[in-house]
Symmetry: C2
Subunit: 152 residues, 2 copies
Amino acid sequence: MNSLDMKIIKLLMQDARMKWSTLAKHIGLSAPATADRVNRLQEQGIIRRFETVLDPARLGYDLGAFVAVSLERPEHRDPFLQRIQELPHVLECHHVAGEDDYLLKIRCRNTEELDDIITNQIKSLHGISRTKTTIIMRTLKESTALPLLPED
Amino acid sequence: MNSLDMKIIKLLMQDARMKWSTLAKHIGLSAPATADRVNRLQEQGIIRRFETVLDPARLGYDLGAFVAVSLERPEHRDPFLQRIQELPHVLECHHVAGEDDYLLKIRCRNTEELDDIITNQIKSLHGISRTKTTIIMRTLKESTALPLLPED
DNA sequence: ACTGAAAGTCTTCCCCG
DNA sequence: CGGGGAAGACTTTCAGT
């Protein structure tokens, strides 16, 4: 990770489909050298994947919610986490400090679907002692872009 | 939005750098027709952007937190939201139902930086009556991919 | 809205420094 | 690790349906 890699990352963060030749011009390297560097960043796991960001509302995914989950005992953790990975409506799962154990972000079509997800897909798992649902009324900012600042 | 567009979206969601010719084979169209369709999806706003997903920890962004914010009075809302858009460490901002008004997701390098963000960048804004910070200890799943199911 | 062909561009491979 | 050239692949444009 040097300053050239940082430049590459910043540019690719904003446009994952940028052509190597364009990227090359920006960073002042030849196209093959640029492609090499990006491949290396991917192999190292610094670049995880290239994603297309869609408008949830335009696809009928109008409802979002955060669900805080409390787990009863540690032996329930692994099966819980495994199941969470499989649930497509659970976009994020964070282990958090504080009153609750896990915080999930969910996106779905409507309240009935949300009800089904929470009741049948999450609460039915073993060892869940409590859930606390917070409805998202409007999303004003949403990005995965890291706050890479000029000094980086 | 027909079933062909849904196929395109599903494939691009997983690999934003997929070549038009490859995509074309998957959906059974010619390359020019495929490129046309993707451009149309972008113009319609269904495709928002192509993003490169990085590993936060590998770039020194080891700390994450959710910050719940309560706003005192409605006239403080617009300046607050405007400022939030400008803060690079605030990755997400959702207006939520319930006890608090807004829920922010933050990523930063360490606790000192988090302290600075909450104290100097957020709490210093006018009209903030209360904040409640929840530290992320481990992120087990994180994606922007919508749960587009086979039936879509 | 899509196809097919042609023209132009970009990527990839390889060898050299 | 990076440059440059050549071969091949890909994208883009355009005419035609």
